[in-house]
């Protein structure tokens, strides 16, 4: 990765530029010749997909901001103006709302890929942490953005989430008043949320640059989890991975397009088409699907402060995963016990997501027995923490991994065949 650059500027202009600002050299090294493991599979295309989605969200967001009015009296009206009167406004709005949902789908696949293949392990701990920072910023951005249409869910989600901070002993109430700019969520809150919603995506873009830089120092991990040993293990990023990423990107965009054009409100909540009313609480306040697992964790703890700590603890846990997993072997392909627990974690997260969507007092009737869902949520929450804080360290220590292959190229290339230069 730290190697001699092979870029040779071809024209007078590019030579002139290269001496002053070697930006084309940088592009050449990071996106063209960059040696990438030859065995990356489909799960490794989501980084490129995420970059594309960030651009989509920023571009669609900037044009929407030309028409949106961030005032409590006009916000809902301005969104309807966008949907009805602005040329292609309906398309831009649905692109932005469904784009956000697909952005989170991609980020969860990307994160689970990292957990499965051990991409967080040394020397990529900082890469993982930067990724978690991006995830945190994405969650903040999405929360802020959801309040902007000023529908019922916008208003009450803002009320519930800002009220969480009152759990902080002593200064909690003052912090909440400071966040609100008043005595309740109101216009002052909406206006500052708009300002921050516009700002944060550019912070995300900056951290993405650091994230890619941190990736390029050691280079990509790969499904085998073993280090690159020779140039035979790698291929230049262009054209191999530009071609592969482009193809899978278009598949992803097809799914996004199906939502935008044929089911634009499927992932949303109908209550957000009711203008915000501070005097009427919706029967079920529910966040968007990508927040549901954390919502379930928050509600499973009866104590307010402990619930908030559990919520932030669940996110903080992800930050320290590189130190919780004690295994020397990276990839789950060679860790049969770890692999089982990985899939149980996936099921647990999906279960938590489902539980977050249900009313807090929901009851299951299964074979004559009545089970309160909140108890299932408590079990699922407990398992989440058990997985990271107990299973990962213990399994890493006790498990006997399968034998690792000698190199990346060996299982892939036929014997004696020379790799592409």
């Amino acid at each position: 990765m730290a190697g001699h650059s092979t870029y040779v500027p071809q024209t007078g202009l590019t030579r002139w530029l290269d001496v002053r600002l070697p930006i084309l050299r940088l592009a050449h090294e990071t996106m063209t010749t960059f040696p990438t493991p030859r065995n990356l599979n489909v799960w490794y295309t989501f980084g490129g997909i995420l970059t594309f989605m960030l651009v989509v969200q920023i571009v669609s967001g900037v044009v929407l901001a030309m028409h949106y009015v961030p005032h409590a009296d006009m916000a809902f009206d301005s969104v309807e103006d966008i949907m009805r009167d602005v040329n292609y406004g309906w398309l831009l709005r649905y692109m932005h709302s469904n784009g956000a949902a697909m952005f989170f789908l991609a980020v969860y696949i990307h994160m689970f890929r990292g957990l499965y293949y051990g991409s967080y392990k040394a020397p990529r701990e900082v890469l993982w942490i930067l990724g978690m920072v991006i995830y945190l910023l994405m969650m903040a951005t999405a929360f802020l953005g959801y309040t902007l249409p000023w529908g019922q869910m916008s208003f009450w989600a803002a009320t519930v989430i800002t009220n969480l901070f009152s759990a902080i002993p002593g200064v909690g109430e003052a912090i909440v008043t400071w966040l609100w700019g008043g005595f309740a969520v109101d216009n002052a809150t909406l206006q500052r949320f708009f300002s921050l919603h516009y700002l944060l995506p550019f912070a995300i873009a900056g951290v993405v640059v650091l994230h890619i830089w941190a990736l390029h120092v050691p280079g990509n991990n790969n499904p085998l989890g073993i280090d690159v040993k020779s140039p035979q293990d790698t291929l230049p990023f262009h054209p191999y991975y530009t071609a592969k990423d482009a193809f899978y990107l278009v598949l992803f965009v097809i799914v996004l397009a199906i939502f935008i054009f044929y089911a634009p409100n499927y992932m949303g909540h109908p209550d957000n088409y009711i203008p915000a009313d501070p005097l009427v609480t919706p029967p079920h306040i529910v966040p968007e699907w990508y927040f549901l697992p954390f919502y379930a964790i928050l509600r499973s703890i009866p104590d307010k402060l402990m619930g908030v700590l559990a919520l932030f603890g669940a996110i903080f846990t992800l930050f320290v995963v590189p130190w919780l997993d004690t295994s020397k072997v990276r990839s789950a392909r060679f860790r049969p016990i770890f692999k089982q627990f990985f899939w149980i974690l996936v099921a647990d997260c999906i279960l938590l997501g489902y539980l977050g969507s249900q009313p807090a007092d929901a009851i299951w009737h299964a074979g004559g027995v009545e089970i309160q869902l909140v108890w299932i949520a408590r079990l699922a929450t407990a398992y989440y923490f058990v997985h990271f804080w107990i299973v990962l360290p213990v399994v890493g220590f006790l498990e006997k991994p399968l034998p690792l292959p000698d190199s990346i190229a060996k299982p892939v290339l036929p014997k004696g065949h020379a790799a592409a230069a």
């Binding site: 309807e80 009805r84 191999y240 071609a243 482009a246 054009f261 109908p270 088409y273």
Partner: protein, 262 residues
């Protein structure tokens, strides 16, 4: 194997439904709508009849404040002509801008009005929410511009509500002014049954049964909530065809690039 088991457990649990509490709204009747599905469009005749129902029945209490008259001759809508739109607009009185004396009320305190123009939005029956509540026993008839999107399974819900009024069961106590409707959460709704057979004489001569009027006004309200539906589905088809073609080309290019790698 374990992976499949774990995932199917999660999926199975997702389908275990919690029991319906008493007084929870009944599942709406499922009706076929011309605008359903990826190729659905609005039935233009139904839109025009639906507008007539809205105007003659619903508009007495419910505003439609996001719909402009100028939308009525847009593609994918009721299909009125430009002249018809001007005539429809002119038939309404909308609140007037201040006159040369700066007044907006006349000598009797009544709001000054002027005939509507195409650029105007449909006027509200009430000056404000409090005025609406004062006339309706404290209840606020909601604006209907996006009602079909503001309720789960919107078109079926509104249709079921309009056709679902019935005698209250013997064991249910109804407060004065409340009406029984099993499709409304709590089964008690402040709105009296709005549709009676033949209360509207359709311009195209169609029989005005309650079901027909409900069907037509729901179609109209669906358009009011999603006027761009037809344009959206049409563009969606072009976009998906294009993306499929691009995906095919990219796949071939990807395989060609990688052929030499092994």
């Amino acid at each position: 194997m374990r992976k499949i088991l774990a995932l199917s457990c999660a999926a199975a649990l997702a389908f275990a439904a919690p029991a319906l509490a008493a007084d929870e709204a009944e599942h709406p009747k499922q009706m076929p709508w011309s605008f359903d599905g990826p190729f659905g469009t609005y039935d233009r005749a139904a839109l025009q009849r639906g507008f007539q129902v809205y105007k003659e029945v619903c508009a007495a209490c419910h505003s439609l404040k996001y719909v402009a008259f100028s939308a009525f001759d847009d593609a994918g809508g009721p299909g009125f002509t430009g002249e018809e739109v001007k005539a429809i607009a002119a038939g309404y009185q909308v609140p007037a801008e201040p006159n040369d004396q700066g007044e907006i009320f006349d000598a009797d305190g009544v709001r000054l009005t002027r005939p509507g123009i195409a650029a105007d939005r449909l006027p509200s029956p009430y000056a404000n929410d409090k005025a609406a509540r004062a006339v309706n026993n404290g209840a606020l008839p909601p604006d209907l511009s996006v009602m079909v999107k503001a309720r789960h399974d919107g078109p079926n819900y509104v249709y079921s509500l309009l056709t679902g009024f019935a005698e209250a069961p013997a064991d249910m106590t109804m407060a004065a002014g409340m009406n029984y409707n099993p499709y409304f959460a709590g089964h008690r709704i402040a709105m009296a049954p709005p549709l009676l057979p033949d209360m509207v004489t359709y311009a195209d001569g169609a029989p005005a049964s309650v079901e027909q009027m409900a069907h037509d006004v729901v179609t109209f309200l669906a358009w009011a909530a999603e006027p761009k539906l037809e344009e959206r589905k049409k563009l969606g088809l072009s976009v998906l065809i294009y993306l499929a073609a691009l995906a095919a080309l990219l796949y071939l290019a990807y395989r060609r690039v990688w052929r030499d790698a092994h």
